[in-house]
């Protein structure tokens, strides 16, 4: 048992005790009004902690006397001194703005979340107990109220409102007290005697999960509608009991709650750490994720995002490839310059940046473009975690202040965790007047209503909430009067009416007349918001039919955003009629948000519409494409019968046929699969390529699910003999997967015939293996001999593993002993995949010698499988003569490496290593690269150097959340490892090194085990010591230093480049250089990536040179994606020597390029004349008045 902490704890715990705020507060407190409140509590807490310490030391030391405090050395690292002057000096602020310290310790410590009350006081929660309570330690976390009484922009008064909380991560004053999250609970605390301290506690909701204390319920925020919103993160499982019934949310999501009625609903699902949620002035919601890199996410009711439990498809955010973000605030108010209002602020807390995004709506979609940073710091403890507009119109940033931000990856008791400091920073626009906050208490009802058009959204929210405390009859009368008094000619008329509708909603008074008026508004944003109100008032306003009729019309609105909202609102009355009304939206253009709304709605309503899918009642079911879409959305066995009928009886396009067969294959039973198989095999009039594709789709599904179609498949024999090659291969595979004995002899002769092409022999070998039997085994044995071609030998050895693994292992070792045998990766993979395979290989390696290169590849394949196979790795290394694998760094060695990185590492050189090792295959920087490993964009801002060193050398030691592999064994004895993406009702979805989405049917799974990291160990073994130091140095600077930060520009980062091959060069010489614009089999494009700044270094692009050419050329391509057609603005550098084509058409390069693109993907190619091109290649999207749509470059890998 590794428990370094308790021996080290002498120091660790003690540090934490003496650093507790109240102790220092007593001494240092100068500005705080009531110092003694904290003092007595602190002494109590200290007493408890000393007692804890005594126990822990006495109990723990027995078993731990010999343990080494492994992390003690890590304190050698430079954690900068907490000094607010120096921190101020470390800021770079946006031009025209300045920053000042509003509050800091001892007033507050480690602030996590904050909200203003209507008296202009800031309520702040923080936690010293986080991350994990000590045995016997009291729950002693606090709510502090701080105030700037003299208006100088600096807090001068603070008081402790509550001090017995348990990791409070969200706070929202309201309803005569304050709502605060308290681990499993949401409490409402009140001060009933006016002494400034909470004296009444009501548990409002309880049952929130605490599986991870940085995931617990958080981000409380009052909505524009008077509802309270709060979020939870990925590991949390919550079961809340309300008078309306129990409510459950597993994994992340956003809750919506009306305290006075106790109505609690899930507003949206998913996210890893949705630490930010706000809405614009039209009531549309946006969210950010503190552990996922998609920037701003547009959220509508029922939308689901990454990690949403049991939902097979999720929505993407608006800024794929950005760093992770915490908190979200939509800016408003007169203090800020006009062009800042409506933009959104969130925090890159890893990279010490406060970021700003311009989000604009375009035909129902949103486009989000990052702007220059609001604030940036070089101080590693600056951790902006919350941002709120203040009542004075300034921007306030909560700085959690901590050098350590990892939760699981760094020891809970790591002494570098800060438990005592914290700051609130205030950002103001230079030379612009501040806002005078209203005194809500003193305002009349009319005065409050006047604030509903205040430029400050904050004032609008508080005014509406204040109305709830006033006389109801007077309020309603005043609302009617205000409505009558609006000036239709005013430019704000539509928004003003909407605010009044929301005011009615906030005070919970239905107003059908106003609602109907706004549903017919000329402004689509108002209609959209009104639909949401309609759905919330549904049961009180309409009978079901009237409601559906109303929404059926709205689902055909001229604006897609209204359609999205209406489609989602239809589920309030679950019925076939609702489904039909929703599908009508498909008669108009469908963008990705609307499509998602439709997909999820058809799933929500499947029980109602599916029974009618084959009848005449549903209009959409008469249209093959729409019915296919809806049936596919269900993604389950209940839809298959209708899918089979659709596939057999209706004319479908080639693409639709494949979709139908794939969907049947995914969930069909044997009989249904048999019907589909017959249809494919008998459809002689269908083009052979299409038949081959259909057959492949079906066979692939049968293989995955270990099911055999029930039906006549004997015509396979005919296809295997006489069909064109592509269909032949598909039929050979089918014969194996379906164990079709009637063709065994044909397969045997194919497999053994040396004159047959390997492309046919290999599948025949695999199919024979699947069919099994002595004769098959004898044939496979004979094919492993060295006179056979290498690929046949590999195929035969692989095929032997399931039935004769020892023999297969023996042949494999013989094969691996030969040099130049080609890539052995598929061999290793096959041994890993089959039960007992890797053990057999390990045994066969005993005493054998294999080629060192084969040994290295083997180690890489085995270690990156996520499985723990130390014996196999040791055997491989020994057989390859590589010596023993290192297992651990001593603390002293680690410290030495860390120091060496600091003093001798060079990040620029390190970037070369990053490319050489092809890190981008699994890791992304700014959206470019793979997603099998954690994003690296701002890794330097979050990870300490020791962590980086150990993570590279020993990838399994600490694994980022969401990157744990899962090792799955299926009933047919195959093993898969990958990272769990999701699990639906009947499938487990993994991403693996080779497949972005591997779907494993749950009923085929025998066992699941947690695996380790998928990162190969010794990936860096080929690096020299200096190269390793450089690589770590680079990682430590990514996202932290200006040279290695991705910045806010939208560059092409993922490229395809043409490698320098003779075949390509010859082809381009013969057909001229411009032939590269079209695809051709000799042009084998490969992946390429820009550097951290988004620039493609020319030296990294292959140059192709033919002896008859006077210059050499480079060829690159990238892809633009857009939700709608229009013009985008591109800047291309350098101009000289470059030529650009978009979808095959040449584009003139001059100044900013306005490019016409269609909706969807636009393929762009560049030809570079290397003798003329000077400088590195940089293509980016830029802002330009001529641009009508926003697009993005395709990232990924």
């Amino acid at each position: 048992m590794n428990l370094p902490i308790h021996v080290a704890s002498g120091k660790t715990l003690h540090d934490r005790q003496v650093s507790m705020r109240p102790i220092s507060a007593v001494v240092e407190l100068q500005r705080t009004q009531s110092p003694f409140e904290g003092g007595s509590r602190g002494m109590l807490a200290l007493g408890r902690r000393l007692r804890t310490l005594a126990y822990m030391v006495s109990l723990a030391s027995i078993s731990l006397a010999l343990a080494i405090p492994a992390h003690a050395q890590r304190s050698l690292l430079n954690v900068p001194e907490a000094n607010t002057e120096k921190e101020l000096a470390a800021f770079t602020v946006a031009e025209g703005f300045e920053v000042n310290l509003f509050a800091s310790d001892p007033m507050i410590a480690n602030p996590i979340h904050m909200n203003w009350d209507d008296q202009g006081r800031l309520w702040v929660v923080g936690s010293a107990v986080y991350p994990q309570i000590l045995p016997g330690e009291p729950a002693s976390d606090t709510i502090t109220v701080i105030e700037d009484t003299d208006g100088d922009g600096v807090a001068d008064k603070s008081s402790l409102f509550a001090e017995n909380l348990f990791i409070p991560t969200g706070v929202a004053p309201g309803d005569g007290g304050v709502y605060v999250t308290n681990s499993t609970e949401i409490l409402h605390l009140q001060d009933t005697n006016g002494d400034g301290r909470a004296d009444r506690t009501r548990v409002v909701l309880s049952g929130f999960g605490t599986e991870d204390t940085h995931h617990i319920v958080h981000s409380l925020r009052w909505g524009y509608d008077g509802l309270l919103y709060f979020n939870q993160s990925i590991y949390i499982h919550s079961h809340i009991e309300t008078p309306h019934g129990p409510r459950t949310l597993n994994a992340g999501g956003i809750w919506q709650f009306r305290p006075e009625t106790m109505e609690l609903e899930v507003f949206a699902r998913g996210f890893v750490n949705p630490w930010g949620h706000h809405y614009d002035e039209w009531g549309q919601s946006f969210a950010t994720d503190g552990a996922y890199g998609e920037g701003i996410n547009y959220v509508f009711p029922g939308a689901a995002f990454v990690t949403a439990a049991a939902i097979p498809r999720v929505l993407q955010g608006l800024n794929e490839g950005t760093p992770k973000h915490c908190a979200l605030e939509v800016l408003s108010g007169t203090h800020l310059p006009e062009d800042w209002r409506g933009t959104m602020i969130t925090n890159d807390f890893r990279g010490q940046r406060v970021c700003r995004f311009l989000v604009t709506e375009q035909d129902g979609s949103y486009v989000s473009v990052e702007q220059p940073e609001v604030l940036r710091s070089t101080h590693v403890s600056f951790r902006p975690v919350d941002v709120k507009m203040g009542p004075d119109g300034a921007i306030y940033i909560a700085d959690w202040y901590n050098p350590i931000i990892q939760h699981g990856e760094v020891d809970f008791r790591d002494p570098r965790r800060d438990h005592e400091h914290g700051r609130i920073w205030r950002i103001t626009a230079k030379g612009r007047p501040l806002v005078t906050p209203p005194d809500f208490d003193k305002l009349s009802i009319d005065g409050l209503l006047g604030l509903l058009q205040a430029p400050e959204q904050w004032n609008r929210i508080h005014a509406k909430r204040e109305l709830k405390t006033r006389d109801r009859a007077e309020t309603l009368a005043a609302l009617d009067k205000a409505l009558a008094g609006l000036d239709p000619a005013s430019p704000d008329f539509e928004n003003a009416r909407l605010e009044l509708l929301w005011a009615f909603e906030t005070v919970d008074a239905v107003n059908p007349k106003l609602l109907d008026t706004l549903l017919a508004s000329s402004d689509h944003r108002v209609r959209t918001a009104a639909v949401r109100v309609l759905s919330q008032w549904q049961s009180r306003l309409h009978d079901d039919d009237a409601y559906l009729d109303k929404l059926a019309a709205l689902a055909q609105d001229t604006h897609p955003q209204v359609r999205i909202e209406a489609i989602r609102a239809l589920i309030r009355v679950p019925s076939a009629k609702a489904a039909d009304a929703a599908m009508h939206a498909m008669d108009q253009p469908v963008d990705r948000f609307l499509e998602y709304a439709l997909w999820t709605t058809m799933r929500d309503l499947k029980d109602q519409w599916l029974p009618e899918a084959d009848g005449n009642r549903l209009a959409f079911a008469k249209k093959s494409d729409q019915l296919l879409y809806a049936l596919k959305a269900i993604d389950g066995p209940e839809a298959v019968a209708s899918l089979v009928r659709l596939y057999r009886d209706r004319p479908l396009t080639a693409e639709q046929q494949r979709e139908a067969v794939t969907a049947i294959g995914a969930h069909g039973d044997a009989k249904q699969l048999g019907l589909a198989a017959e249809q494919i095999l008998e459809a002689k009039d269908v083009e052979p390529g299409q038949r081959a594709a259909l057959l492949r789709d079906l066979v692939e599904a049968c293989k995955r699910r270990s099911v055999r179609p029930d039906g006549k498949v004997s015509s396979l024999a005919e296809l295997i003999k006489n069909a064109p090659d592509e269909l032949r291969v598909a039929a050979i595979n089918a014969a194996g997967v379906w164990r079709e004995e009637s063709v065994r002899a044909t397969l045997e002769s194919l497999a053994t015939d040396v004159s047959t092409a390997s492309a046919l022999r290999e599948p025949a070998i695999e199919s024979l293996s699947a069919m099994g039997g002595d004769s098959a085994n004898a044939i496979l044995e004979s094919l492993t001999k060295s006179e056979q071609p290498a690929e046949i030998r590999v195929a035969a050895i692989r095929a032997l593993i399931p039935s004769a693994r020892e023999s297969a292992a023996k042949h494999a070792v013989a094969f691996l002993a030969e040099s130049n045998q080609g890539n052995p990766t598929p061999l290793y993979e096959a041994f890993l995949k089959s039960e007992g395979g890797i053990g057999a290989l390990t045994a066969a390696l005993e005493g054998a010698t294999i080629a060192p290169e084969a040994s290295k590849i083997g180690e890489r394949v085995v270690s990156s499988s996520g499985r723990k196979e130390p014996e196999a790795i040791a055997a491989l290394r020994k057989a390859g003569g590589l010596g023993e694998a290192p297992t651990e760094l001593s603390p002293a060695d680690l410290a030495a490496k860390v120091e060496a990185v600091r003093t001798r590492g060079d990040a620029s050189r390190g970037y070369q290593q990053y490319r050489t090792l092809d890190c981008a295959q699994c890791h992304s920087i700014a959206g470019s690269g793979g997603n099998l490993g954690p994003d690296m964009t701002s890794i330097g801002g979050s990870a300490q150097v020791d962590y980086l060193v150990e993570s590279i050398l020993f990838p399994g030691k600490a694994i980022k959340e969401g990157f744990h592999s899962l090792v799955v064994e299926t009933k047919d004895l195959a093993t898969y490892s990958g990272i769990k993406v999701n699990q639906t009702g009947d499938e487990l979805i993994l991403k693996t090194a080779t497949e972005p989405e591997l779907r494993i049917p749950l009923d085929t799974i025998e066992s699941q085990e947690d695996g380790g990291s998928l990162m190969p160990v010794e990936l860096t073994s080929t690096l020299l010591e200096q190269e390793f130091l450089d690589l770590v140095k680079l990682l430590s600077e990514l996202g932290r230093t200006p040279d290695f930060s991705a910045g806010t520009g939208r560059h092409v980062r993922t490229w395809r480049v043409l490698p320098d091959t003779d075949a390509a060069t010859d082809y381009l010489y013969e057909s001229r250089v411009e032939a590269a614009i079209k695809s051709h089999e000799t042009l084998a494009w490969i992946q390429g990536y820009s550097n951290v700044k988004g620039v493609m270094p020319l030296e990294d692009v292959p140059a192709l040179k033919h002896s008859y050419w006077t210059t050499s050329y480079s060829f690159l391509q990238f892809t633009l994606e857009s939700d709608s057609p229009g013009k985008v603005a591109l800047a291309v550098a350098p101009m000289d020597g470059l030529r650009l084509w978009a979808n095959g058409k040449p584009v003139e390069l001059a100044g900013t390029i306005l490019l016409d693109i269609a909706a969807g993907a636009t393929d762009c190619k560049l030809i570079v004349d290397r003798s003329n091109a000077k400088g590195n290649i940089d293509v980016q999207l830029v802002g330009d008045p001529g641009a009508t749509v926003s697009a993005k470059f395709r990232g990924g890998r």
């Binding site: 590794n2 994990q132 309880s206 020891d411």
Partner: protein, 319 residues
């Protein structure tokens, strides 16, 4: 890990003696007229939010401690918000089946001699259609709990109060609560288990409640829990005058603190890292969890001392 090994042996011994005495004393009918707590009793409370919130208030435990004067009676609250007889709220990352197994393990670890089992509130929201499933689930649970050889008391859910708009009118839902309560009563009857009918002990009217025990119609307030505690005592077959709550305050505070400490043991936060699939990162801290036990033992001593003080004054209810 069994967190109770230190006291388990001693309690088993006391219980064995008690059982022996009981056997000698009378050939008791299978179903008692009342339920009394005796030295060595470990009371385990099982259920959902209705029971779980008692952790925060300690009223039931304080009331029972005040009434049953013998020493050596301890309490463990193993309720879980949103839970059902199927254990689904305890599933966490796993399946409902594993959640159910966890429920049984929780009980096993607490080594009860008597169990107060209160389910049905969450299930009742499924109405008539869910009743059969609930009965089957309850019977399965009781079959599985039987192996603990503890006396089992079934406690019905409580009715919802009508607090007036905008909170929902509970009249319709209360029909379902009654329906499920009736089913629980029938199961108790069939199994010869003691049954406490909270719907009868804490009656509600259709009118708006004038002095409500709940703050939202469903969840009891602190003072509401005193009523629940008194009702439970009565339901267990004991008529007692209302206790002096002020005098119970120190005892109750000690109970609440014990509950808090115990909550941090069996519902430890960060359990993903301590016991779950990320334990290779922070699993070492699992060793901290048993370090709570001495604090709990201390707290139990303090509770015992406070009880002694109360009963030293001739018992709370004897005045």
């Amino acid at each position: 890990m069994n967190l109770n090994t230190r006291t388990r042996g001693r309690r088993r011994f006391i219980r064995a003696i008690a059982m022996l005495l009981l056997t000698i004393a009378c050939a008791a009918p299978a179903r008692a007229d009342s339920i009394a707590l005796s030295p060595g009793d470990r009371v385990v409370m099982l259920g959902a939010t209705f029971v779980e919130r008692e952790v925060r208030y300690g009223c039931i435990e304080a009331m029972l401690c005040a009434y049953f004067q013998e020493s050596g009676i301890t309490f463990r609250n193993l309720a879980w918000s949103g839970d059902t007889v199927f254990g689904d709220a305890r599933a966490g990352f796993d399946t409902a089946k594993e959640g159910y197994e966890r429920l049984l393990k929780h009980v096993d670890d607490a080594d009860p001699t008597i169990m107060l089992v209160s389910y049905g509130q969450n299930e009742s929201f499924k109405g008539k259609d869910g009743l059969e499933e609930f009965e089957a689930g309850m019977n399965r649970l009781l079959d599985d709990l039987a192996k603990n050889n503890a006396r089992i008391v079934l406690v019905s859910p409580a009715l919802h109060e009508n607090l007036g708009p905008p909170l929902p009118d509970p009249a319709e839902h209360n029909e379902d609560v009654r329906r499920y309560t009736k089913a629980i009563g029938a199961i108790a009857e069939k199994r010869d288990l003691y049954f406490v009918d909270m719907t009868a002990l804490l009656p509600v009217t259709k009118e708006i409640a004038r002095s409500p025990r709940t703050d939202d119609g469903m969840h009891f307030t602190e003072s509401g829990y005193w009523d629940v505690a008194a009702a439970l005592l009565k339901g267990l077959g004991h008529d007692a005058p209302p206790p002096d709550l002020e005098r119970l305050a120190p005892l109750r505070a000690a109970i609440v603190e014990k509950n808090r400490l115990f909550f941090n043991v069996w519902r430890a936060q960060n359990d993903t890292y301590i016991y779950g699939f990320r334990k290779y990162e922070q699993g070492g801290h699992a060793a901290e969890i048993p370090l709570f036990l001495p604090f709990i033992a201390d707290q139990e001593k303090q509770i015992a001392a406070l009880r002694g003080e109360l009963h030293g004054e001739k018992g709370l209810n004897a005045q």
